[in-house]
């Protein structure tokens, strides 16, 4: 860990101009359009957005896990600094290359929203953790088993030796998500992508899992990309936040910037839609309308169809340029661009 810490000035991950489309029967659908973000060693990036905003697609592409009908644009780059210090562009790696396999798990690990379906039902938890360990560490089967049991213990699973031999359906939902985290961390990744890891869990378990992830991050020093549609969750875990809508980033800033000083009308609307204990009795403000179909993407700012502050003739014509409000806070909106001009 020490020598990695020395290089913290460098970004662990640099995603530039990421554009991802899917070939479908109805035509080509663009799911992610010109997204940029960076992650530094040991920090937590939160990506917030509704379903269909492209948050999962853009992060799954970091591990090249997208289905075969996906196209990553040639101008996109996903530059990742490996543990050995070399920087690779993941979009340029061959699909079946050993280098990509080493990155999957060994450098970047992923935990999913559905802990039940992300384990195969016909193999034990232990089998699937050991598989991960054996894939990335030069150890014997017995050593892999010990590492796996130790990991299960570390993520707070009681009786890890017994759990090791059990099947996924014999564990509770919260337990399975802990086991999923154990699988990811047993490979010792530098970056952990958590794709809505707490969405399918009830609130108390959710809190436990978030706390566990915070602890493990401090202990192991990995960076995390945390994807969620829940601003309440992201405020607890993230250092900085990207707000995504229909494949584009609309606002980025530190957690403080976004939660306490949101500037984009979409972020403001999202925050108003969260129930608050000090506003009991008031109606929540829902954002009117639905997220448009990616098949008929609006030209201009993707949010103008639902925006309360839309400027006709401007917002529906072109995408606004980024406006820097401070060193950390950037917004993509004409409301601010005009003030600067």
């Amino acid at each position: 860990m020490e020598n990695i810490k020395e290089k913290t000035d460098d970004n662990l991950l640099e995603v530039k101009n990421l554009k991802i489309s899917f070939k479908t029967d109805e035509g080509i659908i663009t799911a992610v359009d010109g997204v940029n973000f960076t992650v530094k060693h040991g920090e937590t990036l939160g990506i917030v957005g509704e379903s269909g905003s492209g948050k999962s697609v853009s992060t799954w592409s970091i591990m090249r896990l997208l289905p075969k009908n996906s196209i990553i644009d040639k101008k996109s780059s996903i530059r990742f600094r490996k543990k050995d210090g070399k920087v690779v562009d993941i979009t340029k790696l061959k699909a079946r290359s050993k280098e990509l396999r080493k990155i999957r798990g060994g450098e970047v690990a992923l935990i999913f929203q559905e802990p039940m379906s992300s384990f195969s039902p016909v193999y034990t938890i232990g089998n699937q953790i050991s598989e991960a360990v054996l894939q990335h560490r030069d150890v014997s089967k017995e050593e892999a088993q010990e590492i796996a049991i130790d990991m299960l213990d570390r993520v707070g699973i009681a009786n890890p030796r017994q759990r090791f031999k059990q099947y996924p359906f014999e564990l509770s939902g919260g337990m399975r998500q802990r086991a999923m985290i154990a699988v990811a961390l047993s490979m010792n990744p530098a970056l952990l992508i958590a794709d809505e890891p707490t969405t399918s869990l009830d609130v108390t378990i959710q809190a436990q899992i978030l706390e566990l992830m915070n602890e493990l991050q401090e202990e192991l020093g990995m960076a995390i990309i945390f994807i969620t549609h829940n601003l309440g969750v992201i405020a607890q875990v993230a250092d900085k936040i990207e707000v995504m809508y229909l494949g584009k980033i609309l606002e980025r800033g530190t957690t403080k910037d976004i939660i306490q000083n949101p500037q984009h009308p979409y972020t403001q609307a999202l925050l108003k839609a969260i129930p608050r204990l000090d506003h009991i009795g008031e109606r929540l403000n829902a954002i009117s309308g639905d997220i448009p179909s990616p098949l008929s993407r609006p030209t201009g700012c993707p949010f103008y169809t639902r925006c309360e502050k839309v400027i006709p003739g401007i917002c529906d014509v072109k995408m606004p340029n980024p406006t820097k409000l401070s060193d950390t806070h950037t917004v993509y909106c004409f409301l601010y661009e005009e003030k600067n001009v």
């Binding site: 896990l65 990155i103 992300s118 195969s120 016909v122 099947y167 359906f169 699988v183 490979m187």
Partner: protein
């Protein structure tokens, strides 16, 4: 696992008990019995007058005068305790003698057909799923439709014609003339195997087409599950991934329908056997019904049903070994 095995074995025994009762009822169903048939054969055209008393005598000789439940218990207990299926009246010997060798040959056909079916359909179905929408996949789909559409006897005739015209070999029967009456030896077994190939291919054709599509469909579903993506995200190599996760589950629907396949093979066998001149049980079953030779018919029905029930039992066991969730549900 032991509890599961015991449960399934008990289930099989109970099923077989009801099957045996049904078989016995079926044996009783045709009007008349072998006594009348025997009298007709023996005395028709001689001008002899047969009285009811004569018929009763004949019936008593064959043991057919006892009440049905008594005959059932005698029949079934002889089978269970002594493996004795009774007397084949028309052949004037025991049923065991009449059907003995034919049973082994029928079973040989059944198993070779099942083996051919699974050896082809499982790997090829998986391959088609992995190469979905490729030229190979479409070709295999066409092959499958041919399998569904072509009647077996037609295929049998075609293969018969080809092998006689081009290879100068006879596919009829299960043995070459040299071995037909020879005692069992290694050469005879090999001869049998070579004769089994053609019937097995014919009978396996439609089952293969069906199972191939099943394997392909299951494999496609499994390929897109999150657990496969999760394993890929752990850096598991693609081929290892395919064999460990989706392939293992794609076998399940095949394993769970071994009994159905056995059933289908038994239903299709008589026609194919007729064309190829194979000595098997189907034709004997038909003949014994026409002769009202009920112990032969009963024995064949019972054995064939037992085979299907046993195949279902086997498929349950295999499934429990393959999929840990099965044991959980069954307790």
């Amino acid at each position: 696992m032991i509890k599961f095995l015991v449960q399934r074995t008990l289930g099989m025994i109970v099923t077989m008990f009801f099957v045996s009762i049904m078989v016995f009822i079926i044996m009783e169903l045709p009007p008349g019995d072998y006594a009348e048939r025997w009298a007709f054969r023996k005395f028709s055209g001689t001008g002899a007058q047969i009285t009811q008393a004569d018929l009763d005598n004949i019936r008593a000789n064959f043991g057919l005068d006892r009440p049905a439940p008594e005959r059932y218990f005698k029949w079934i207990s002889n089978i269970v305790l002594h493996g004795d299926f009774g007397e084949a009246f028309a052949f004037q010997t025991s049923v065991n003698n009449v059907i003995g060798q034919k049973i082994w040959l029928t079973l040989a056909i059944l198993f070779s057909t099942l083996i051919v079916t699974y050896i082809i359909s499982i790997p090829v179905g998986m391959y088609a799923a992995v190469r979905r929408n490729s030229l190979e996949d479409y070709a295999l789909t066409v092959f499958s439709y041919l399998g569904f559409a072509l009647p077996n006897f037609l295929l049998a005739l075609i293969l018969l014609y080809i092998s006689i015209t081009y290879f100068d070999t006879s596919v009829g029967g299960l043995f070459s003339p040299d071995y037909a009456d020879a005692p069992w030896s290694m050469d005879k077994a090999l001869d049998l195997l070579s004769h089994l190939v053609v019937p097995a291919i014919i009978l396996a054709w439609s089952a293969t087409a069906f199972q191939l599509q099943t394997v392909r469909a299951t494999m496609l579903d499994e390929l897109n599950t999150l657990s496969v993506t999760a394993a890929r995200a752990r850096g598991v190599p693609e081929w290892k991934l395919l064999l460990k996760y989706p392939a293992r589950l794609a076998i399940n629907p095949v394993v769970s329908t071994i009994g159905f396949d056995a059933n289908r093979i038994f239903s299709e066998l008589p026609i194919v056997a007729l064309v190829l001149g194979l000595p098997e049980l189907g034709q004997l079953l038909l003949k014994s019904y026409l002769d009202l030779d009920m112990f032969v018919a009963g024995a064949i029905l019972l054995i064939l049903t037992f085979m299907i029930v046993f195949m279902n039992f086997l498929s349950d066991i295999f499934l429990a070994i393959l999929d840990p969730r099965v044991k959980l549900i069954e307790g």
